[in-house]
Symmetry: C2
DNA sequence: GCGCCAATTTAAAACGTTGTAAATTTGCGA
DNA sequence: TCGCAAATTTACAACGTTTTAAATTGGCGC
């Protein structure tokens, strides 16, 4: 009994344009050379004569030859793949496709492809990493939102697998990362609030487990202590909370006797939620309170009321991450492997 | 010619970590079967006895065998790759990673990987498609923002290459798509503006060349004609324009004698820009004018002033696109290949 | 013209999988 | 016990590339 044939099985591979793709053999036949020679010529191996090297390249270009990824991968064990771990929170506003665009840009002109890997297993994102390493799914890996002792980083370091993180860790072994100076951001943001006369600043943090939460906290605390003002850091909410939850919390705080009058927001969403909550109680931005927010889109400067915003360029971040990862994969030790991007202030500090 | 028999010794198995990834040969040696048999057993081929089929599966599971993608791809010509064409405008707010998340979700549990392909060549996005088809880079393709006679679609249809678009075309040959009913959106949005007493609605369109621009226009015009009110459709700006350009335009229109008093916005950004521009001239949402906007994030309902918004679920869209594409690749003709998602109104039509 | 080393080119064997065709075993009736 | 088909397993050849080792060519001094 023959297997139940899939009806039409989109047999693209067998028909039409899928077939007849030029291979090394094609070029070999056209030039009268051996396949091996063609391979070496294209790989610019040293022992090939300049004449044949050039001829092979010419023919290859003419017929639009492109090496078969599968065959190369099978033979060499190199995948030419960069894996991006898709963040469960990436669906939210904060993380647009900017990072992805940046990474993709850095890969143009290289043989590397960008493969998006969702977290297969809920919660335990180490398993995705484990899976990729064990099964040789990629030559390098990129991910975000690191924790001080991020188990993913630990595993990758242990295995010696190339990677770059968006965010730092506290491992003693250094590893490649691109990060935003969240200390500087929080420090500057808070200082501006204070300079404007705000006397009870609030900082809205991301989930505590993430490294950059500490950096923000540190920056905020430094500014607050320098000024000697009281402050507030809500425990109940964080930047990953649903918008309405943040708004509700703010709404409750808005009516308290000791309500905060300045907000350092780590993202656009929390800023908007705050404005909304304040407005519900007749409080006006710039009058009863101020906000300084980090923005990753170009959105905030264009809404009313005007929020002071400090920009984080995620596209550039992605570009750098890609570049660093490629260098890392190529074993290039000369490139800087760690980058700390400075906040871009719309206005100079007063 | 007798093969050198290794006794089927369980110690032969390299159960431990690292170097040697298990292959069919590993399983063959462990079970004492031939590689071919193991392959068929794992593929649930009919002529394998139930006993061996089960045993092979057990061993495979035990050692965590996973077929080598490169080898499979090389042999079968199938790549197990879905290519997503990265939109040059995807970096903007409107298109978050929602679509990507949706697609990725639909691929979980399948052997398919999601490869993000940027437009290599500026402007001419047909070349990316051409490249993917010619070089067999993927088994299927997904992209957005179709035009009525989109050259990408034409090419893909011609070549018989599996794909799904986000957006429709006007080709007579039907092709798989998932689209949002932008006619319904624009019609409803405009009707609501009119019901609220607005007498000069404005519609902000995406670039005219895109199919859904026509749909929006049609929906808007239908509502406007039914009501017999004057209307306005700016030529100078579109949804892809930078935020400040939209804001400036709105600002100019706000002071005109015949200023529009109702806005049907195809996205969050244009809505915010409009609010800002109006506020500059002392015009208040809900008093001098109204907005009904399409939102793809959950942002708008949480800002102040309150914009009436109609939701488009891009994650669900991505999920559907993935599902349809997989069905298409498998030659499954039973699945609906075209889906038109209806707008989700926050409130029922009065 | 010969020998020999260097410069080129080449054949053959892999990488891990699947398809084809052939070989082996099994079951069962005569 | 044999024969013969059906059931099951198998060997072998690919897919397109790179690597290893071997073969061919060329140059040059004699």
């Amino acid at each position: 009994m023959s297997r139940i044939e899939k009806p039409a099985d989109s047999d693209f591979a067998r028909t039409a344009s899928g077939a007849g793709k030029p291979t090394l053999k094609t070029i070999a036949e056209m030039t009268g050379l051996a396949v091996t020679t063609v391979s070496r010529a294209l790989g610019n191996a040293p022992q090939i004569s300049e004449a044949t090297r050039r001829r092979v390249h010419e023919v290859a270009a003419e017929i639009g030859y492109l090496p078969d990824r599968a065959a190369q991968r099978l033979k060499t064990g190199r995948t030419n793949v960069i894996s991006v771990l898709l963040d469960p929170h990436g669906e939210l506003l904060e993380y647009g496709t900017s990072l992805m665009h940046g990474i993709a840009q850095s890969l143009v002109g290289t043989p590397y492809h960008l493969v998006v890997t969702p977290n297969f297993i809920e919660g335990s994102n180490v398993d995705s990493v484990q899976h990729i390493i064990r099964n040789g799914m990629a030559d390098g890996m990129i991910f975000s939102r690191t924790e001080p002792f991020d188990p993913r980083v630990r595993l990758l370091l242990e295995k010696g697998f190339p990677f770059v993180t968006h965010g730092r860790t506290e491992f003693s072994t250094p590893h490649p990362y691109v990060d935003y100076d969240n200390f500087a951001f929080a420090y500057e943001a808070t200082k501006r609030l204070i300079i404007r006369g705000r006397r009870r600043p609030m900082l809205i943090l991301p989930p505590r487990r993430m490294t950059f939460s500490q950096h923000l906290l540190h920056g905020f605390m430094t500014a607050v202590r320098e000024a000697g003002v009281p402050y507030e850091i809500p425990e109940e909410i964080n930047l990953d909370c649903p918008v309405d939850q943040i708004r509700d919390y703010m709404s409750r705080r808005a009516v308290a006797a000791d309500r905060p009058d300045g907000f350092a927001c780590g993202g656009e969403v929390s800023a908007l939620a705050t404005i909304t909550a304040m407005a519900e109680h007749g409080l006006t931005l710039g009058v009863e309170y101020d906000i300084v927010a980090k923005q990753t889109s170009r959105l905030l400067p264009n809404i009313q009321p005007r929020v002071e915003s400090i920009y984080e360029d995620l596209t550039e971040t992605g570009r750098l991450m890609g570049r660093i990862l490629l260098a890392r994969i190529n074993g290039d030790e000369t490139t800087d492997l760690q980058m700390l991007l400075q906040p871009q202030f719309s206005f100079p500090t007063p």
